[in-house]
Symmetry: C2
Subunit: 199 residues, 2 copies
């Protein structure tokens, strides 16, 4: 749980046409799932038959999955009165185990410094986070979880993971593994290169 913020989209991009051989079905099933994205791609192809709708099948689905998963995923968090960005921030403090500065929190949660400032203000007021000034450099602040904050995170985490496990169980374990692997490969390369391409 817990990345940064989030709010994916609807349906989109290119089809798998560009790709190559393999068609659908990942591992075990046999039927081609007909999802929303497939329908959208079909519409585009009928309007612009010449277009290579390949990327839509991948990017459109990633976006749509992210949207659906987050909607679902946020449920356990809301029960605890936290938004996902808030939980991400607390989670960063919890998993690193040590204090972090606002800048570090921004990097860790993939959000802007201003957004972090606002969240910290609220979380501090709620008593989940504590602030300490740096002795050497009075510009920087160090944030840490209060006991209440730590307990909250530790309480939510198992629920969150259990819920996510349930949601993902629509895929067989091998499918989950394959998916994780492919996404890791894509993500690793995207994170590495990002910035090279400039449309």
């Amino acid at each position: 749980m817990t990345a940064t913020s989030g709010r994916p989209a609807a349906a989109s991009d290119a089809g798998r046409g560009a790709g190559g051989g393999l068609d659908d079905e990942g591992v075990g099933s046999g039927a081609v799932m007909d999802d929303t994205v497939a329908a959208v791609v079909r519409q585009w192809r009928s309007v612009h038959p010449a277009l290579d709708t390949g990327p839509m099948e991948v990017i459109g689905r990633i976006n749509r999955c992210a949207a659906l998963l987050q909607q679902a995923e946020d449920a356990p968090l809301r029960r605890a009165g936290l938004s996902r960005p808030e939980f991400d921030l607390l989670g960063a403090l919890r998993r690193t185990g040590h204090e972090l500065t606002p800048s570090e929190l921004a990097k860790e949660t993939f959000s802007s410094g201003a957004a972090v400032t606002k969240r910290l203000k609220q979380l501090t007021e709620r008593g989940l986070v504590e602030r300490r000034g740096d002795a050497r450099d009075r510009r920087v602040a160090h944030l840490r979880l209060t006991d209440a904050g730590r307990d909250l995170v530790d309480g939510i985490l198992p629920e969150q993971l259990a819920y996510e496990t349930a949601v993902l169980s629509v895929l067989a374990p091998e499918g989950q593994g394959e998916l994780a692997g492919l996404l890791a490969e894509l993500l690793g390369r995207l994170e590495g290169r990002m910035g090279a391409l400039r449309a």
Copy 2:
């Protein structure tokens, strides 16, 4: 291109532990990519060794991929002065080929009615969309693209797809196909069930 809105998150959830056998590497490569999510998962496991961090490997990566892809993907759109939600709306009108009501647009772009109202106001002012009242039922409106709107969409679409193709080319074609297939399976089942689970 073009789902609805979007704005995924950082790193999160469970590991692949829950899953089963297979480890990484999707198809052709051999090295395990070390992405941001893997690092986050390692941190969580070192703090809470008992936790099943399985789902994180999948959900965290989907979110992060969506975030990165959108940031990149939006570039061609911004060049045309459109946000993705705006383009999604125009795209829905273009691909369906006929007029749509605000409600239908909301469904099609996965956004709220209020959001659609606001976007329509702007797009209409920009002369990309036209409104027509329904004769039978004066509550409903029918929206259609103007010539300028249609031309804009048709002009952007190829750029967008080409750009996405380039971004995805970090994955081999077979990898793209497998990924699309697995995501289709996940998405199809999520869209089918969503609502059943309630944490």
